[in-house]
């Protein structure tokens, strides 16, 4: 008894000590947004001299022409449809794979699993030329349309796994009651899948929000920039980067993710745990 208690103290000490390293960058980021630029580089103090919001106000205005109101709006305009389309298309496609025994299904499923491992780097150049031909560049179509056509095999696979956990008897009894396949899907299965759909939506939100390479390639006018590109641009202006403003905007840009995480922590953790995928 005494021994196990002693051992736990060791475990706690380790977790707390290590936890300090884990949160240090985030705490430092938070406190630094209240510092002046001079303070940021001149002082070694961890705590800001006073809690001023200048960095937020000036950072938000940016260069004066396009503000962060615009960048936030762009980001939501890009991300929200991607999330909705991904969840919708993935659910329908997963339903097809999980519940029907159609011709060529085995081959198609193998291809689906194969695309899980297809590196984005290999297809990004032809995608760029394709979107260029379609005149989709500098719009959010390169993000929305692939989401609409189930180009995220990871979520399809995740939802197929979830479907397999729902008893087929549900479908069968609804068929006997005269329901069609689509009605079974919408009326019976969708309500049962809410947690899985929500969790898929959360991860897609997170990944699309944080995505940098795709916007960098497909979006070229500042007016259409999402947050990721706006932040990157703020480093480009030359030697006199207002670091405190950049940090303030950086913090604001990840704030929606943190809020979402605390509101829906259960879905994040269970979403990871139940599917056993993605690290």
């Amino acid at each position: 008894m005494k021994k196990s208690k002693y051992k736990n103290i060791g475990a706690y000490a380790f977790l707390i000590f290590f936890g300090i390293f884990m949160v240090f960058p985030i705490v430092w980021l938070f406190l630094s947004t209240f510092k002046t630029n001079a303070e940021l580089f001149g002082s070694i103090k961890f705590w800001p001299e006073s809690f001023r919001f200048d960095a937020y106000v000036n950072g938000w205005i940016g260069n004066g022409k396009i503000t962060y109101t615009n960048y936030f709006k762009n980001t939501f305009e890009l991300v929200i449809p991607v999330v909705l389309f991904t969840v919708m298309s993935s659910a329908i496609i997963a339903y097809g794979f999980a519940r029907f025994n159609f011709p060529l299904k085995k081959i198609m499923f193998s291809i689906l699993i194969g695309t899980l491992m297809l590196p984005n780097a290999v297809i990004i150049i032809p995608r760029y030329t394709l979107f260029n031909k379609l005149e989709w560049l500098n719009s959010y179509l390169p993000f929305w349309i692939p989401a609409l056509f189930g180009c995220f095999p990871f979520f399809i696979y995740q939802l197929i796994q979830f479907f397999r956990g729902l008893p087929r008897e549900l479908d069968e009894s609804a068929y006997i009651d005269g329901c069609g396949t689509f009605k079974v899907f919408v009326r019976i299965l969708i309500p049962l899948m809410k947690p899985a759909l929500f969790s898929a939506g959360l991860f897609q939100f997170l990944w699309t929000w944080n995505d940098f390479l795709n916007p960098l390639i497909f979006i070229n006018s500042v007016k259409k920039y999402p947050l990721s590109l706006a932040l990157r641009m703020s480093l480009d202006i030359g030697a006199n980067v207002a670091w405190n403003q950049v940090l303030a905007m950086s913090l604001l840009s990840v704030l929606p993710l943190i809020i979402l995480f605390f509101l829906a922590q259960k879905f994040f953790v269970e979403g990871i745990a139940t599917t056993g995928l993605k690290g």
Binding site: N8, Y12, F14, L15, G19, M22, P25, W28, L29, F41, I44, S89, I92, I93, G96, F97, R99, F100, N101, F102, T115, M117, L118, P119, A121, V122, I123, I124, I125, P126, R127, T129, L130, N132, F149, G150, C151, I156, T181, W209, N210, F212, L213, S228, L231, V246, S250, L251, S253, V254, L257, I258, F261, V269, I272, A273, G276, L277, K278, G279
Partner: protein, 301 residues
């Protein structure tokens, strides 16, 4: 007779319904052909051409010959990429494993700890954190100032070719939280009876880990290993934002090389060749991992 017709009708009805499956997967088939298969094959074709949006000219294996024979930058890039993969993937998984094992000991307050450790994975991939990293690890940044307080002269983290890559790897390893949550869930699913039986037999913790725990979670570990390796090979954001490939190309990963050739130099054909070499390297790594997997990955069924 009556039963027979019923059976036929039933059979036919099922078949008809099964064809509905094709309707449901149709969007995926379209998406696969247009946004995945077509680009995949195109990039292979591009890799044998000199292509810059405006014009395309077939040049056979010239791009590949140039990559392997002339372009010294390319070898460096491959070397740096392997360095990144071999530091981040094991680093992340080992950290995740250690902390998950500690958290699995029925400690109180585990939820808070789990949350704190998870937050870096939440935002770590974002540009915001790359910027933060760049600022913290500057030669006169907060890390070196803190080291100076305890009398250590810190290195020029991102300015020195020796430390630049490890600094970027550290950002990735810092995000081990999501792997940890995953492993923790896997650990919780291991049947308790196995441990009880083993402790009756007098097995020690170390032995229990290797005989019970590790085999039980090995499929999840393996899947993570594969997916993270594929991801790590393609890393771009942190190298681009924190060091821009430098100093002295010490963080010029293949993802950077690909981006620079394609979208700065507009050598789309050459960049496609880079992407296919990257793809082949990923395939080789994946096959090697699969080959070794039957030695250490245990599936129940």
């Amino acid at each position: 007779m009556k039963i027979d017709t019923n059976a036929v009708v039933k059979d036919k009805k099922y078949k008809k319904r099964d064809y509905m499956g094709l309707v449901y997967v149709a969007p995926w088939v379209i998406g696969l052909l247009i946004f995945q298969a077509y680009p995949f094959i195109s990039s292979l074709i591009y890799s044998f051409t000199k292509y810059n949006i405006a014009s395309m000219e077939f040049i056979g294996f010239d791009n590949y010959i140039r990559l392997f024979k002339i372009d010294k930058e390319f070898y460096k890039s491959v070397f740096v990429t392997f360095g990144y993969v071999f530091m981040t993937v094991p680093g992340k998984l080992i950290m995740a494993m250690i902390v998950a094992l500690i958290l699995n000991q029925k400690l109180k307050g585990i939820n808070i700890v789990r949350t704190i450790y998870y937050i870096p994975s939440l935002m770590g991939g974002s540009i915001a954190v790359s910027i933060l990293w760049k600022l913290m690890f500057m030669s006169d940044g907060v890390i070196n100032k803190m080291l100076a307080q305890v009398g250590i002269v810190g290195p020029n983290w991102i300015g020195d070719p020796k430390t630049a890559l490890p600094t970027i790897c550290l950002l990735e390893i810092w995000q081990f939280g999501s792997s940890m949550v995953l492993l923790l869930a896997a650990l919780k699913a291991v049947p308790k009876e196995l441990y009880e039986a083993a402790s009756v037999d007098g097995a020690n913790k170390w032995r229990m880990y290797w005989k019970i725990t590790f085999p039980a979670i090995s499929p999840i570990l393996f899947f993570n290993l594969i997916m993270q390796t594929i991801q790590a090979f393609q890393n771009f954001t942190s190298a681009f934002v924190i060091t821009n490939g430098g100093p002295n190309k010490s963080t010029y990963v293949l993802g950077m090389k690909l981006y620079t050739e394609a979208f700065s130099n507009f050598k789309m054909g050459y960049a496609s060749a880079v992407s296919w070499v990257m793809f082949v390297l990923i395939m080789i790594m994946t096959i090697v991992l699969f080959k070794t997997s039957n030695r250490w990955v245990h599936y129940d069924d």
